[in-house]
């Protein structure tokens, strides 16, 4: 799980082009949207693309997506539960 979270943080940084940010600066449980990193609805869609391309997990509904994407922790847990080979 720790490896997954570290990898995921780097993927988030790359996918959202969070220039200059390092994985260790993203707290596992910090909210990704609203406060915390302050990402927006387009970012949440980009993170869904990340999940699909890297982990084979397709989220159809944008609202469902926001719950899964609330933090790195929630994303990692969802990946572990749903990842396709």
């Amino acid at each position: 799980m720790e490896d997954l979270k570290l990898k995921l943080k780097q993927q988030i940084i790359d996918s959202l082009n969070l220039q200059g940010m390092k994985p260790e600066e993203i707290d596992d449980n910090a909210p990704l949207f609203g406060e915390g990193l302050g990402l927006d609805s387009i970012d949440s869609l980009e993170l869904m693309v990340l999940l699909e391309r890297n982990y084979g997990i397709k989220i159809e509904d944008a609202r469902e997506g926001r719950k899964v994407l609330s933090s790195v922790q929630s994303m990692a847990e969802y990946i572990q539960q749903n990842q396709k080979a």
Partner: protein, 403 residues
């Protein structure tokens, strides 16, 4: 009193058909034009319904007397040509002298419907082939120039592109050019053809419904895409009367404003939509209660309908005018939507009708108001309001009044 600017001709082409009678039959008969696309070659065709015009490119070319096959005309232009020909049917060409009238066109992705199928040829090894006829067709002005050439016209031309509000903006610009004496008449509107680029673009936003869309419904899950073209001709009322033209409606108010909130989402409390509708009313010198029908933008996305619904409620109160979205009939025709829906609104006003908002079942929790659910007829409607709200925060409201 200032000369009013009036509508004296129109041409509308949508998934419902071409002639007014045919489209009205669908609108009053709750018959949607949405179906799985037959001509757009997308992997998503079996899953998604769209408002595709029921004619292939070959059918359209044939209908227009153009050579069938790779003739250099994109579907965008073909749709525009059909709608324009319909508009010009009863217009004496002598009214359209060089530079004395404006042609204001609008679309969102130009000839992408053709370009996307040839792009790999464009950038590939070969420097010659049928694809070269389409190399200059990507941009939005391609249809504008081709429509003018086809009809042998030399108007003052402009092409706008402001996403979903584009053709509504074209109508405003036409009015302003006439009012300021730059031209005597203006043909304004827009066109957009289905393309995989657009379909996949909206799919990437995850706001497309696989089922027929449900505007203003609590369980709505997004829009259906569509295509089409719509144009109307504007001129001064005094000119129309002088030449004995039938006056179809008066363009009595409008507003173009920007939400300035987010690239794709409206301000959630509907502030942008409220501002636009309110300013349009003030421009028309009307009170909210004087509006008989609102043709909502009503895309059935979570965000739009919440924002627009709240704005209508705030501006018009708990007993607003009859309102509905006609997008369940035609799909969201993007750049053409403003003009197509303006014309639908005018038809409804003149025939005393308010179209039902198809597929509506459950009111939205955040609203006290609900759209028209069954066709209303025998109405006395003096003024109609039509909304078009686009990406980039570009919001437009148009108000037409009975002649």
């Amino acid at each position: 009193m200032a000369d009013r600017i009036v509508v004296t001709s129109f041409g509308v082409f949508s998934a419902l058909g071409l002639e007014k009678e045919v489209q009205m039959e669908a609108l009053t008969g709750s018959r949607s034009g949405l179906q799985h696309p037959r001509y757009l070659n997308t992997v998503h065709a079996p899953e998604f319904l769209m408002g595709e015009v029921p004619m292939s490119d070959s059918d359209l070319a044939d209908f227009l007397g153009l050579p069938v096959g790779e003739n250099g005309y994109t579907r965008t232009t073909l749709l525009a040509l059909v709608a324009m020909r319909e508009l010009l049917k009863d217009v004496d060409k002598s009214l359209l002298a060089d530079h004395q009238f404006a042609f204001i066109n609008a679309n969102t992705v130009g000839g992408m419907c053709s370009v996307e199928n040839m792009y790999m040829d464009f950038i590939g090894e070969e420097s010659e082939g049928p694809f070269t006829k389409y190399i200059d067709t990507l941009d939005c002005a391609e249809s504008t120039q081709n429509v003018a050439s086809y009809f042998g016209l030399k108007p003052w031309m402009a092409t706008l592109s402001t996403a979903c509000s584009s053709s509504a903006n074209a109508i405003i610009l036409g009015e302003r050019l006439i009012r300021q004496g730059i031209v005597q008449r203006a043909i304004c509107g827009g066109c957009d053809a289905m393309s995989r680029f657009t379909v996949n673009g909206f799919l990437s936003l995850k706001n497309v419904d696989k089922e027929p869309c449900k505007p203003f419904d609590q369980n709505r899950s997004g829009l259906n895409l569509g295509e089409g073209a719509g144009y109307l001709m504007l001129e001064r009322e005094s000119d129309a009367i002088a030449r004995g033209a039938k006056i179809i409606a008066v363009l009595s108010g409008y507003c173009n404003s920007n939400d300035a909130y987010h690239p794709t989402a409206p301000s959630p409390d509907g502030a942008g939509a409220y501002r636009t509708m309110n300013k349009a009313l003030r421009k028309a010198g009307l009170e909210p209660a004087q509006i008989g029908y609102i043709n909502a933008h009503g895309t059935a996305t979570i965000n739009n309908d919440a924002a627009e619904g709240l704005a209508i409620q705030r501006l018009f109160g708990a007993n607003p005018p009859l309102f509905s979205s006609t997008k369940p009939y035609t799909g969201h025709t993007l750049a053409a939507a403003g003009a197509i829906e303006a014309i639908f609104s005018i038809w409804g006003m003149n025939d005393g009708l308010a179209y039902p908002n198809l597929n509506f079942r459950i009111p939205m929790e955040e609203l006290e108001i609900t759209p028209v659910q069954t066709l209303q007829s025998g109405l006395e409607i003096k003024h109609v309001l039509s909304n078009s709200f686009g990406f980039g925060g570009n919001n437009v409201s148009l108000i037409f009044s009975k002649a």
